[in-house]
């Protein structure tokens, strides 16, 4: 293929590498060596993940975590520009500032819908393994060039601004990848089977209502533990949905599927294990309480979860 997923990872790695170089040379940061090393190692894992043997990537990940644990990751002081300076710049460009920002979703959509499957000289234009991601990468690349021309910015300036954002996210940037790793280890260690056995052991076989309650709650709780509803579905469906709901109570599998995945998503809204949705945004928005987003989501999640239980019970018992 012409544009592969690996290229986007290399692009991400280059951005992080640039940030680490700025940090290494920042004398105001007392931990610039360890902080810089953290981002340097991270950039290497992004760029060369496919080439370096997994054992060494694993070691590098552990070194990064040790840097975090030892307090070696320190945010640099960034001088906030005064409101008047920002206001001056804002006035210069005004509404045009929205253009590059809006360009990202538009180009991503256009790229992933229109260029999917397009071939040039027998080669796929966008990597078929993850079209959306490649489209997003290319959209960002286009938008950055556009933004640089418009604001008369330089690549160095763009990296400097990336560094400000990356440092404000801090160690949380690693969390989604670490949690996915944890999920893999859990699966290999058989955590899923243990949980599903525990849940099926408490199932009251005769009562449809309680089977539905335990199934939906189980989807939510399992998702909260694993951080991912996709991991919960096969386990809970094999343990409860097929033997009890579908075989015993004759439920429609389409209803079960639709509602159970949403029950799982209610769990996603309530767990720090879904870092990409709950913890990273808190860091991105400079929230003091890292669980603030989760706290806001809990009431909606519980209401929707209750609705799912009632809906599933009604659909199965009425035999719709």
């Amino acid at each position: 293929m012409i544009f592969s997923v690996e290229m986007i990872y290399v692009l991400m790695g280059i951005i992080v590498l640039g940030c680490s170089l700025y940090i290494f040379t920042d004398r105001t940061n007392s931990r610039r060596l360890t902080t810089g090393s953290f981002y340097l190692i991270y950039s290497i894992t992004l760029m060369f993940g496919k080439i370096i043997p997994p054992f060494y990537i694993g070691l590098m990940v552990i070194i990064m975590v040790l840097i975090i644990a030892g307090g070696g990751l320190k945010k640099s002081e960034h001088v906030e520009e005064s409101i008047t300076v920002k206001e001056e710049r804002r006035k210069r460009l005004g509404g045009r500032l929205f253009l590059p920002a809006i360009l990202i979703p538009i180009l991503t959509l256009a790229g992933s819908k229109l260029l999917d499957g397009v071939k040039i000289g027998g080669k796929a234009l966008l990597d078929p393994s993850n079209v959306t991601m490649v489209a997003l990468g290319l959209a960002c690349l286009t938008a950055i060039i556009f933004a640089m021309v418009m604001t008369r910015g330089t690549p160095a300036g763009a990296v400097k601004e990336s560094r400000r954002l990356l440092e404000s996210i801090g160690w949380a940037v690693l969390l989604p990848q670490l949690l996915a790793t944890l999920g893999t280890i859990y699966t290999n260690a058989g955590v899923g089977t243990v949980v599903s056995k525990a849940v099926t052991a408490i199932i009251p076989e005769g009562s449809l209502f309680w089977v539905v309650v335990i199934f939906c709650l189980g989807m939510a709780i399992f998702t909260m533990i694993m951080g991912n509803a996709f991991a919960a579905f096969p386990v809970m469906a094999a343990g409860i949905a097929i033997p009890f709901l579908i075989n015993q109570f004759d439920a429609n599998p389409n209803h079960i599927a639709a509602i159970s995945m949403f029950a799982g998503y209610c769990g996603t809204l309530m767990t720090p294990m879904a870092a990409n949705f709950n913890i990273v945004p808190a860091a991105l928005l400079d929230l003091k309480d890292k669980n603030h987003v989760i706290k806001v989501q809990v009431p909606t999640a519980l209401a929707v979860l209750a609705f799912n239980i009632v809906l599933m019970y009604l659909l199965v018992s009425l035999g719709v």
């Binding site: 894992t45 929205f98 933004a147 990296v159 400097k160 280890i185 260690a189 599927a257 949705f277 209401a303």
Partner: protein, 224 residues
């Protein structure tokens, strides 16, 4: 026994240890309890870390967003909204909830997102609405508004995306039923998601209205 890892995570989160450290320790401990040799655990670590690099895709958006922010994007977003009369935080976010949920239902997942939409546009717009209505925005309320902006994106995305037939979740479930020789139909699965999607929208829109009322009470309307 393998549940000790899960227990470690819960203890770690409750005691507010650094999550990255807690997660890594839990993974190592779980692997060792399950009897996986340490070199093999580290290898699995590296493999999974590499396969899941796509999770960190937000990095690719940082240069554009950073550059635009430096040039006053957030101020501009806030300014545009503050010009609209009768605008409130809840209305800005309900509008975004609608766009996000309908967009996801049509398969347009990349329409939003925290780094590319919430931080540079939606959160400043919601803050701008509060500023123009109340004339001030104390830090506590600013933090709450931002948390609500992030939550709105998640809720819109989650309860919209399963209405779209070709989304990963639907394909996964269909594949699972096929493997178990149970007849299922992706289109019907997607359609039966609609009641929950509508309910989630209504509940969250009501909560956003209540959030407006709470802000009114605390900050008082400027016109009063």
């Amino acid at each position: 026994m393998v549940l000790i890892g899960v227990l470690l995570i819960m203890i770690g989160f409750v005691l507010r240890f650094n999550s990255a450290v807690v997660v890594t320790v839990s993974a190592l401990v779980t692997g060792m309890i399950a009897g996986i040799p340490i070199t093999s655990i580290i290898t699995q670590f590296g493999e999974a870390f590499t396969t899941n690099r796509y999770m960190s895709i937000l990095i690719v958006t940082l240069p554009v967003i950073g550059l635009l922010e430096k040039n006053g994007l957030q101020q501009q977003a806030s300014k545009v909204v503050s010009k609209i009369k009768a605008i409130t935080v809840g209305r800005v976010l309900t509008m975004y909830l609608l766009i996000r949920e309908v967009g996801a239902a049509l398969g347009l997942n990349s329409l939003g997102g925290h780094p590319q939409t919430v931080r540079p546009l939606i959160a400043p717009m919601a803050e701008g609405a509060a500023l123009s209505k109340y004339g001030k925005l104390p830090e506590k309320e600013q933090q709450e508004i931002r948390a609500h902006a992030a939550a709105t994106d998640n809720i819109g995305l989650f309860f919209g995306e399963d209405i779209f037939v070709a989304v990963g979740a639907i394909l996964l479930m269909n594949g699972f039923f096929e493997q178990n020789n149970i007849p299922a139909d992706p289109i019907s699965m997607a359609l039966w998601g609609i009641p929950t999607a509508i309910f989630a929208f209504i509940v969250h829109a009501i909560r956003l209205r209540m959030f407006d009322k709470k802000l009114d009470k605390r900050l008082g309307s400027r016109d009063q």
